[in-house]
């Protein structure tokens, strides 16, 4: 690690012992950071040094480290998943920074995402929204013959794009209103666009939006910071689809 390419970074990291603790920014200086490291490897390196000094390592969420699971998070210099477009924190590399940079690292902040410890937040609010209707409950029978259910290519593509959502919560974190509309609309769209999910589309839109509101997420103001921060490039056209789907469901509620 004595490579001349290595960097020295000034890190300002949010430390918070527990949900109840007040928390504060703590300064660290980290030397010998390789530009080829991922952002999370950089924190691993700092944590090894902390552990060696018998200090408490920094808690942060991560799992796959290949941009598919949605566990990693972090507000990096005030941006969800850092400065690169369509990139998760685990896929962000230190070559995006330069020697001597100051990097502020904070957890997602939202009433619905309480901080558990340091940079870890509780995102189970998203699970509760899914539990409220983000599934298909109708019996679809045995696997059909190929091509017996025709699906327009455009719908299949749109559903697939919506299904790319990994549920990381960057949309909530980056939204100035801490709104979960991008997440919820992607989960509604991926099902509503396909025949099996369409059956329950109305009730799903009503239930999931109701749950989202109940959990204390904010209201969308159509700024599109969510779309801009989304590591999977989920489009706010999904939010439009949810808005019209909700309206349609509301005015056509099936009652006798």
């Amino acid at each position: 690690m004595s490579d001349t390419n290595t960097m020295t970074l000034n890190l300002k990291i949010w430390r918070q012992a527990s949900t109840k603790d007040k928390g504060q920014i703590v300064d660290y200086v980290l030397e010998g950071v390789s530009p080829d490291m991922s952002f999370l490897e950089m924190i691993d390196m700092l944590n090894e040094q902390l552990v060696a000094k018998n200090d408490d390592p920094i808690a942060f969420d991560h799992d796959c480290r290949e941009g598919i699971c949605g566990m990693c998070s972090l507000m990096i210099n005030g941006q969800a998943h850092g400065p690169e477009k369509a990139t998760t924190t685990c896929q962000l590399h230190m070559r995006s920074f330069k020697d001597g940079d100051t990097i502020a690292i904070e957890p997602w902040r939202a009433r619905a995402f309480p901080v558990l410890k340091d940079l870890m937040v509780d995102r189970s609010a998203f699970d509760k929204i899914i539990e409220a209707g983000g599934f298909v409950n109708v019996n679809t029978g045995n696997a059909q013959d190929a091509n017996s259910i025709l699906i327009p290519k455009e719908n299949a593509d749109l559903a697939m794009d919506a299904a790319a959502c990994i549920g990381c919560g960057a949309c909530v974190a980056s939204c100035k209103n801490a709104s979960a509309m991008l997440f919820v609309s992607a989960k509604i769209s991926q099902l509503a666009l396909l025949p099996q999910g369409e059956v329950e589309a109305d009730q799903r839109a009503l239930s999931m939006v109701e749950k989202m509101d109940e959990l204390g997420f904010g209201n969308c103001t159509n700024e599109a910071e969510c779309e801009a921060s989304c590591p999977k490039d989920i489009s706010i056209s999904n939010i439009a689809r949810m808005n019209r789907g909700f309206l349609k469901a509301a005015v056509s509620a099936k009652t006798k």
Partner: protein
């Protein structure tokens, strides 16, 4: 899926989606009013008499006047109260602010991130505006044998003061910024989204904002110049 139709109907108007749709529909209707108001005001440039006669015609039809005024008050109050409610809710959705927050530069615009502030400027403007014109000094004039209010004179006296004209222009620019986001945003809230028409709609919103912003500001400027020359 637990929510029953019944429990839903109660929460319907309180859902985040519908609150935004209420903002959208009241906002768009107010946009329509703004355009009509501008068209009427431009008569100032045509002639003092044309403007006064137009004003006189409006206030002479009492049933129409009161209905329109009541409608506008309702639209405005609903838009305002809903905005206040949404702003408070959105603030409580993030009780602890970020140490550093940086925009991506790929989403929010100046207009979109200043909606509550430009909205507040419009509210203050509206109060001063009614106070200086509708409830301002009353002069009378006689056109074609009909006695009517010389609103033209009240307006021109206001614009002749540099501060009056500047405040008016400032508020109208804030208004233009407000509607440049609001116009497109209203369609998004209703779920109108199309790969071809949405970009057009965004441009239409900007064009509309420039039209009303420039139109009203031009009036203030015209009044000020007239005042200086007089």
């Amino acid at each position: 899926m637990s929510s029953s139709t019944q429990s839903f109907s109660r929460s319907y108007f309180l859902s985040s989606v519908v609150k935004k749709q209420i903002m959208a529909v009241t906002g768009l209707l107010l946009c329509g009013f703004l355009l009509g108001h501008l068209a009427g005001n431009l008569l100032i440039i045509i002639s003092p008499d044309a403007f006064n006669q137009y004003g006189h015609a409006l206030v002479s039809n009492k049933p129409l006047l009161y209905t329109a005024e009541a409608g506008l008050i309702v639209l405005f109050l609903v838009h305002l109260c809903m905005a206040a409610k949404l702003t408070v809710e959105n603030n409580t959705a993030r009780p602890q602010k970020y140490y550093i927050k940086q925009k991506t530069g790929r989403g929010a615009t100046f207009a979109s991130s200043t909606m509550p502030y430009t909205g507040l400027i419009i509210l203050i403007f509206l109060i001063t505006h009614l106070n200086s014109f509708k409830y301002g000094t009353i002069y009378m004039t006689t056109i074609d044998g009909v006695e009517m209010r010389d609103l033209y004179r009240t307006v021109m006296e206001f614009f002749a003061q540099p501060l009056g004209a500047a405040w008016y222009a400032f508020a109208m620019i804030a208004m233009a910024i407000h509607v440049s986001h609001g116009f497109w945003s209203a369609f998004q809230s209703f779920g109108f989204s199309h790969s071809k028409y949405t970009p057009l709609l965004r441009k239409a919103g900007i064009a509309y904002a420039i039209l009303v912003g420039a139109g009203f500001t031009a009036l203030a400027l015209y009044g000020y110049i007239q005042g200086v020359q007089a």
